[in-house]
Amino acid sequence: MTVEVTMPQLGETVAEGTVTRWLRQVGQTVGDQEPLVEIATDKVDAEIPSPASGTLLEIRVPENATVAVGTVIALIGEPHPTGPAGTPVRPPRHHHSPLVRRLAQEAGLDPDSIVGTGPGGRATRSDLVRAMAERTAPSSAPVAVVVAPPPTVAADWAALVDSADRAEPVDSAERREPMSRLRSIIAERMMTSLATSAQLTCVMEVDLSGIVRLRRAERATDDVPLSLTAFFVDAVVQALRAYPLLNASIDGDGRTIVHRGRHNIGIAVDTAKGLLVPVIRDAGDLSLRGLSRRIADLADRARSGTLTPDDLSAGTFTVTNTGSRGALFDTPILVPGQVGILGTGAVVERPVVVRRSTGEPAIAIRDMAHLALTYDHRLIDGADAARFLMFIKQRLEIERADVEAW
């Protein structure tokens, strides 16, 4: 039931009145006889009480307007009241497109409060964008949480229909196979590594002729063959002593450097099931022969699947022999938690320029290989990486050596 509020007669001879101040706004509730509006006439000013309790639905006469006594100045009633003819009256609807409503909600804005430049004063997308830019405080309005309905037969059916409707066409030459556990782990580690560190690779060539000669000589005499990897691991450990930052780690928060004193060098082993990286703990404590023995043991156990969890953990730096199948070099991916990994390429006989003792250049055939150091640029700058790698290169480029003195 809507009640009309009319301009009262504030004196016997008063014919009109002026609304000076509305004490309630449209949409607010007002109780019966509570103050509603201030009226002024040429004789008297008065505060007019509401004739009914309800919601102020409409203000027909704005402040400072003068109207005749009896004019309807406001309507009070319930939201969705019946109008004079008994027909339901809809409250005024604001036309906001779904896009505008969504943007407004996401920004915590009331679309009605935005000055609209669209037709009929409607807020447009660009109005919203402007209003959002003008706000400095982040929105504190809670974003509506859509509660998923509990799964029902209807929901299952809908999912089935939807997945059938939009399945990608299957190529009959394709076959699907779930990844093995190891494969899944490798996949995850690779992605984590690339996603959490800033990796790039520094490459140098190294002349391994001396080591090659040494190995050839030793092979004839010794029961423990000196593995090439052992030389690399040894050179790495020495370089880590000189440049300990390459042995560090960056903590999970990304802002803390964890310096590590032990040199636990991982060696990548290619097995039938996938890549495994067993770790030589305290590699610096071992001699070349000791390293060779340990490497051989770890590689065997990797291939036979008998590594223990201790064998696979606590690495601080990794060496990977990417040249075993002939690759000149590649750009290895860091083991998560480490900031350096050295990839060693295939050893290839090549003509290179050498200097005689007289200083004159000559061409010689040497056993050359590429060393590729991938490092985490969050911690290691390019110059440090290059110095580190240069140290390793110089350590490996020996003309003559005595293994025992190594």
């Binding site: 497109s97 779904p98 896009l99 505008v100 409503r101 969504r102 037709p119 447009t124 997308r125 066409p169």
Partner: protein, 325 residues
Amino acid sequence: MAELTYRDAVARGIAQEMRRDDRVVLIGEDIAGAGGVFKTTVGLLDEFGPKRVIDTPIAEQAILGAAMGAAMTGLRPVAEIMFSDFFAVCWDIVVNQIAKTRYMTNGQVTLPLVVKTGNGGALRFGAQHSQSVENWAMAIPGVKVVTPSTPQDVVGLMAAAIRDDDPVLFFEHKGLYASKADVPDGDIVDSLGTAKVRREGSDATILALGLMVPRALEAAESLARNGIEAEVIDVRSLVPLDARTILGSVAKTGRLFTVEENPRLLGWGAEIAAIAVDECFWDLDGPVQRITTPHIPLPAADSLEDLVIPSAELVATTVEKALQS
């Protein structure tokens, strides 16, 4: 690269595939000796001979039935229904037999066939020879539906249709047969189920098919002169539908318009509009509007036909008015 008419592109697409696979055969009324009433199969009889390019009686059910039976048993037929209006004569074979047999036999039967047909109006052929009926086909589960609008697309989509192992209805537009464009040399193979953005824009998305594509592009040029940059998408494939490209555009522009030659009710755009309102509701900045031929048979008189089939001008004024209200 050379200029090719749309009608020659049809023959080129078929020839390309017939050279590659001698299971591909072509049947239809007047397609062999006469090269097709619309000259879309010129030269094929000469190149491939009377065993592979065959003129049939006027018997649409027999033509499509033969294509189906041959497809079931090792051939890859292309059959022509001269005017797409004539699908009504053999619709049983399309919707009850071709569309459903693989499903009912649970996959025992495969039907790698193509039905090509001359679709659409603007040629003053009157109500029974001018209809656009690709929307009828879209409504039937079990057939794929493509509608190329350029000569290059004709070649590429014909090749894709012939290579596809499912039944494909290939709707050529009669009003585009004389249109020309540059087409690269060599084999062209396109993909079914892909729409093409013909013009990029960020103020409105306009979807069109067939003859309506050049009209939508013309409208977009006119809109651009008034500061409205419309994105025009050539839908090309109704089944499978490239919803991703279309909805991506709607999400970007917030305004969707379709330009459909079908009569008002249940044109192809009605379905896409429903999908957009369902899946892009919160990206819509205004009502989705379909610009279509009214719900009437097509008149024969040229002035009336030009009035009722959507024109570039109608598209431009509709979009402009919508964006300003």
